[in-house]
């Protein structure tokens, strides 16, 4: 059975958004309904899946109950999905799975986060509560620390450089300048940035600078998923979900040097190891790569019949809270071999004019990162790109890809502790 996305909408990611969460979701929902004149909320929508990350950030438990009745959906089945940064991709995959199981025909997926009610240091502290609070948290690194140690590991093993990281940042920030829903553009306008701007921005956790790091944003986004049976009732140009995949890795990144659960799973990647370095018990993914992305991607590729992702995908939206994650993702999602992600950066493969553009939305610091909405917002960008609606939706002709057919969406939570991949096709 085929599953379609028939509608997508969002409200700009920004900080602070002073509207209430339900008012933000209402804006995203209305934005989506602009293209769904036939939609009867009461008759057509069969269920809803909600995505928000943190009860601490929202100061509200079960906030989706507020959202659900606000949208006029009381009585309909619904629940909240929660898995850190992976929450929004998991919510989409939940909706997909229920439709595919034949339980529902038309399912709303809505995500939001308001992170602007606390100062940034407190926000980092609350987000870090998704790491092991007895082990990783007390030492004071928090996510900017954990991810930075993982990138230093990559720099040591593969030779990623600060300049590679800066190039990724420049690409993504500049992509965001076309996007009127993007936090970066709301804050900084449409001026382009350079590698020098990134390298001279404030150090957060070596090698990461403020311009290599995800935004703390408020915002909301929504998708409407449909069974093949009802999809055509709502649109002539559905976007099909042709592959999904989930994967996991250990809670603590430090445990990945010796995790028996991984040993032998990816022999080709285990073989990529500098001779001078002691080989750990589990050489892949170790601390240098994101194995959960690999597991998720492999099952999504299999389902969608993709053998060479670099050639067969037209663009990708990745979950890049820190720039090294994007370089690692190129490897773990099989765009290139392990350790060669930096080459794709240096050769411009993922630039907007390259063979496989990534982060046309701007990604997590470009479009922004209101956790529960982040990946749904990236899915909205994919939906508009695949339907060639960017000129209308963004007011920019230049930002529209020529004739795109197939895109990848990747999301994850923790330090790649949980991940999902979805393939969209028009």
């Amino acid at each position: 059975m085929k599953i379609a996305v028939v509608g997508a909408g969002m409200t700009r990611f920004d900080r602070p958004r002073r509207e209430l969460q339900e008012e933000l979701v209402a804006q995203a929902f209305k934005n989506m309904m602009e293209d769904l004149p036939e939609l009867d909320i009461k008759k057509d929508i069969s269920a809803a899946f909600y995505s928000y990350f943190s009860d601490h950030l929202e100061q509200q438990l079960c906030m989706h109950w507020i959202i659900h009745d606000y949208l006029g959906l009381s009585s309909k089945p619904a629940y909240r999905v929660e898995s850190g940064g992976a929450t929004p991709i998991d919510a989409i995959i939940n909706a997909y799975t229920f439709i595919r199981a034949g339980l529902f025909d038309l399912v709303l997926v809505a995500g939001w986060e308001k992170m602007g009610e606390l100062d940034t240091a407190k926000v980092n502290e609350f987000i870090a509560m998704a790491s092991d609070t007895d082990w990783d948290y007390p030492v004071g690194g928090y996510y900017s620390g954990y991810y930075a140690t993982m990138e230093v590991r990559r720099m040591h093993l593969y030779g990623d450089t600060e300049e590679d990281l800066a190039k990724v940042s420049v690409k993504n920030h500049n992509n965001a300048t076309y996007n009127p829903y993007a936090h970066w553009r709301a804050k900084n306008g449409t001026k382009k940035i350079t590698v020098g701007d990134v390298l001279n921005s404030r150090l957060i956790s070596y090698p990461y600078r403020i311009m290599n790091v995800a935004e703390v944003s408020d915002g909301a986004a929504a998708l409407l998923l449909a069974s093949e049976k009802v999809a055509k009732k709502f649109t002539d140009t559905p976007v099909w979900i042709t592959g999904i995949g989930l994967g996991t890795d250990s809670m603590r990144p430090g445990d990945r040097t010796g995790n028996p659960a991984w040993v032998g799973l990816y022999p080709e990647d285990e073989a990529v190891w500098p001779e001078a370095e002691t080989k750990p018990l589990s050489p892949y993914p170790e601390m240098a790569n994101f194995g959960s992305f690999r597991v998720a991607a492999d099952s999504a590729y299999k389902m969608a019949g993709i053998r060479n992702p670099l050639k067969e995908l037209d663009f990708a939206e990745l979950f890049n809270p820190y720039d090294g994650v994007e370089i690692s993702a190129y490897e773990d999602l099989r765009f290139c071999k392990r350790g060669e992600g930096k080459k794709l950066v240096r050769e411009g493969t993922t630039e907007r004019w390259g063979e496989l553009p990534t982060q046309l939305s701007g990604g997590l610091y470009g479009q922004g990162h209101p956790v529960g909405a982040t990946t749904i917002g990236q899915a909205v960008t994919i939906f508009w790109q695949l339907r060639e609606e960017i000129p209308k939706k963004w007011g920019s002709r230049n930002a529209q890809m020529q004739n795109p057919k197939r895109a990848l969406l990747q999301g994850h939570g923790g330090t790649g502790t949980q991940a999902g991949v979805i393939i969209f096709e028009r």
């Binding site: 409200t11 030492v139 750990p280």
Partner: protein, 226 residues
Amino acid sequence: MVLEEKVEFDNSKLNKWKKWALKGDMGVKGYRIVEGAYGSRVDKIEKRRYMVVERPHGVVYQHSYGLLSRFYEGLLNKKLYGTKCPKCKLVYLPPRVHCWNPKCKLEETEWIEMPLEGEIVTYTIMAFAATPFLKDLPFILTYVKIGNSCTAVPLQLREVNPLNVHVGLKVKVKFVDKPKGDLMDIYVVPAEKPKPPKRSKEEEERLKKDLKIVEEWVKKHFPKEQ
């Protein structure tokens, strides 16, 4: 049957924090009215009035360290414990009470005393951190393999110039003077002369400048700590 009795305790600070938690009751402590933005697209914004209230929220958790309590009690006594699986012989620090090797089917591990030495798997120089750690900036966060543990534990590295830290550096584990029962009771220091990582002149100058900015920021915001 008595299921639990207090064997040893230090709650000298608890009352102060319990009062603080009661005070932080989510009640409104202040407000402001602001003129702010409304709308989905940044190029199509309208103005609206918003009322913003301040609502503090305080909590004190009574957290049990479970079967890992042996490790934390060890810290109080300045001893470092890990665990070892009797079946597959893997050594864990962080300790695991049940072996995670799928072959061992959650076999209960045995406690062993760990040597106070290890090697740096990776590191970062923290130049911005969450609230409790701001005054300590810049500090070095490392993942260290202690003894023959197969996993690495996050610890702060001290007594070294951040520019000289590198992967593979041999380190010694030290205890703070007054352990209180979390991972900050221990830290590591170099056990050998560091071999600074290769950096271009430009990278080195930039990093020096970064560290200076952080030090000045800390001086300005935490003058008493200096």
